[in-house]
């Protein structure tokens, strides 16, 4: 318990020492001598070979999305890349999402930054604005094989800050409405359609909820990400156009939050946190305890062996539709020693057909390439049957509200939403306070 203070202080010191004392050291490369090299050293005959192949350049790639489920696929991609680029070796470093950004910051501050690293859209701006990302423009222009039009323009442009391309989009994903067909059939309720509103969903959920069996009609979490999306469905945004003012307490935002809270407190079709008792919505859906679950398309694999029929639909809307756009990109460290090699890996990792195929096949999110042929396979896989809904959802996709102090804003909003859930604040009070706190962060 009392270890933590020294730990904090020590880490600060380490950072100071590393940051000031050493120049960004090249990452230690444990190069395993290849058999060829050994053979050369053994042959001690007359003429020394002047053109020994140069030692391969090692670049490090730091990722959160590969661990723990997709290491095999990442290895496969690296193998293909290294075969195509004999002079480059890719060394992978991993961290789980929860620790990733802290570790990345520390690595950069300590002068041991990875050459290439993954960033999600929400954290992209914080890093880009602090000058630690390499401008990819010149490298892209010099590369004849690179064509930016292979990407979905929305995804490509998301990683452009003030006209500078600081990253290439790697994957995207979105959130849809999952529903348990068996529960719908048992209750005699018609399946959700793409033009549903939340009123339709609540009406169905009331039929589906069965308190005696512990079955809930609906689950859609009450937190930052769901809230900015539902606010957008109601025509409300967290900020004004130029992000000088927070508009999170406008009546339409308050109304959106009230709609979310009503699921729990007015209609009793959605469990509260206490009623869930720490069991995740995904687990409850899979156990047949939630009839409709609003969650990400990354859950396909987890629900694959569910003991009932299920499908997906575009999430319901309010005045209009709005869906999530989550995207990860890869960026290059501004002070990397090997910008060209890093670029080769970035281009391969985001645009090569081999990479895209591996991703689609393993449902490791989706490549951001604008190529319908690539997704033919994806659309044919089952379950769910209605995979078109994924692409339909993207028609309504909105980007999250992002500021430089992102994690602070998310925590502040989540904390206030918690207080609304607990009945300590009403939606209007909470959002008035959110406005004050957010404006403090964008000053």
């Amino acid at each position: 318990m009392k270890r933590h203070l020294p730990l904090l202080l020590t880490s600060i010191l380490l950072l100071v020492l590393l940051g000031a004392g050493c120049a960004p050291a090249a990452t230690p490369t444990p190069t395993i001598p290849t058999p060829e090299v050994i053979r050369e050293t053994v042959v001690v005959t007359a003429t020394p070979e002047p053109t020994a192949p140069p030692a391969p350049v090692t670049i490090t790639y730091f990722t959160f999305s590969a661990a723990p489920d997709h290491l095999v696929e990442l290895d496969e991609m690296i193998q293909i890349f290294e075969e195509e680029h004999p002079g480059i070796e890719v060394k992978v470093e991993l961290a789980p999402f929860g620790e990733y950004f802290t570790k990345l910051q520390t690595l950069i501050a300590g002068g041991t930054a990875p050459d290439v690293f993954e960033l999600n859209y929400e954290n992209f701006v914080s890093f880009a604005a602090k000058g630690v990302l390499l401008d990819l423009g010149p490298l892209a222009q010099a590369d004849e094989e690179f064509d930016p039009t292979v990407f979905y323009p929305r995804a490509y442009n998301a990683f452009n800050l003030n006209g500078i391309q600081f990253g290439l989009p790697e994957t995207f994903s979105t959130v849809v409405l999952y529903y348990n067909k068996d529960l719908f059939d048992d209750a005699g309720v018609a399946y959700p359609t793409a033009d549903w509103t939340w009123a339709d969903a609540v009406a169905a959920a009331e039929e589906l909820t069965d308190a005696d069996e512990g079955v809930w009609g609906l689950y859609s979490p009450i937190q930052f990400w769901e809230f900015y999306k539902k606010a957008a469905q109601n025509g409300c945004s967290f900020f004004n156009e130029d992000k000088t003012e927070a508009t999170i307490n406008e009546p339409k935002c308050v109304e959106a939050l009230q709609t979310m809270i009503d699921f729990v407190t007015k209609y009793h079709v959605m469990p509260s946190d206490a009623e869930m008792g720490g069991i995740s919505d995904g687990d409850m859906f899979k156990a047949g305890k939630i009839a409709m679950d609003v969650t990400g398309i990354w859950m396909f694999a987890a629900f694959e062996d569910a003991p009932f029929e299920w499908d997906i639909q575009v999430e319901p809307g309010m005045a209009q539709k709005a869906t999530h756009f989550f995207s990860n990109a890869v960026s290059v460290f501004a002070a990397t020693k090997h910008p060209q090699e890093a670029w080769e890996w970035v281009r391969f990792f985001t645009t090569s057909p081999e990479m895209a195929q591996i991703r689609v096949k393993s449902a490791w999110e989706l490549p951001t390439l604008d190529n319908p042929a690539l997704f033919a396979d994806y659309l044919e896989q089952r379950p769910p049957a209605n995979r078109e809904a994924v692409f339909e959802s993207l028609n309504y996709a909105i980007v999250p509200p992002v500021i430089e102090r992102q994690s602070e804003m998310q925590d502040a909003v989540n904390n206030l939403l918690d207080k609304v859930k607990l009945g300590q604040l009403d939606p209007k009070e909470a959002l008035d306070q959110a406005k004050v706190e957010i404006e403090e962060l964008i000053k």
Partner: protein, 293 residues
């Protein structure tokens, strides 16, 4: 120390102390001093630090989150310290008797102390689960409807206090056991001959003679409880609705989530001053109740 002999002694002393001094300065002294300097800067780890004078302390005064965390920390202390002291003393007195299986129970009470907080906190998370936890199950047997514990802002902190007391009883118990064994048996014999009953012996002999140990245990427990963090981080993460946010949790959040290294350093120093003051006060009032004899 004067003279040739003293000097050469010093020389050897320095050589032998060097390794640990180097470690101490690199890992403790320099960081502590750096963090003191950092309280005057704004630093996000990625760009160079900006000097801001006392702005971090000004921010602290106006930071509602800090005052809430301070209040929650004090709540934890007020609940935790007396409970852990009293229960540990009781257990120590019982386990100081010549009973069957006393060694087993001493070990059993000490096991939580050497268990990792991560494992202990996860276990208590399950015990306190409002739907499946055994705590509410037992309350149910007594016809009591248990609260939602970690999901209820009223009950989350009491739950954390219960888990912390459970984990630390053994630690304080060992200190008390050592203290108890230092009390000569003659006193009890003499008292028994004079006709003192068990309670009188406890309050007139045990407690006064144990007071140096009690003082030490109190100071250690107080310092530890100001720094409460692991159990909070794992069991509630500061929730629900910020009901269990504590000082060290604020420090970690500001330093590593919000990239406010300077502000986190300022918070750390304020925490240090709080602990320091609390300890000084303890030292001052000890002469009114601690007997060294």
């Amino acid at each position: 120390m004067a003279g040739e002999k003293g000097l050469s002694k010093l020389y050897w002393l320095a050589i032998f102390l060097l390794p640990s001094l180097v470690g101490l300065s690199i890992f403790t002294i320099i960081p502590v001093l750096s963090s003191l300097a950092l309280t005057m800067y704004e630093w996000d780890l990625l760009t160079s630090p900006q000097f801001v004078g006392l702005a971090n302390f000004n921010r602290l005064i106006h930071d509602g989150g800090f005052w809430e965390a301070l209040a929650h920390t004090l709540y934890f202390i007020v609940g935790y310290v007396p409970l852990v002291m009293i229960i540990a003393l009781g257990v120590a007195v019982i386990l100081n008797q010549r009973l069957k299986g006393v060694l087993f129970f001493r070990t059993a009470f000490f096991v939580p102390v050497v268990s990792a907080w991560v494992a202990v906190a996860l276990m208590w998370k399950w015990i306190f689960n409002p739907k499946f936890g055994i705590f509410n199950y037992f309350l149910g047997l007594l016809n009591i409807q248990g609260p939602a514990w970690l999901f209820d802002p009223q009950w989350a902190m009491p739950a954390i206090i219960i888990a912390s007391v459970w984990k630390d009883i053994g630690f304080v118990m060992v200190m008390f056991l050592a203290g108890l064994q230092g009390i000569p048996g003659d006193y009890y014999e003499a008292a028994a001959i004079d006709g003192a009953n068990g309670w009188q012996r406890f309050f007139r002999i045990t407690l006064p003679l144990l007071s140096p140990t009690t003082f030490f245990a109190l100071i250690i427990s107080l310092i530890n409880s100001f720094q409460v963090f692991d159990q909070v981080w794992i069991m509630t993460g500061g929730g629900p609705g910020g009901a269990t946010s504590v000082l060290v949790e604020r420090i970690v959040k500001n330093a590593f989530s919000y990239s406010r290294m300077g502000y986190a350093s300022a918070l750390s120093w304020v925490l240090f001053l709080l602990v320091f003051t609390a300890t000084i006060v303890q030292m001052r009032i000890q002469r009114y109740w601690v007997t060294y004899d």
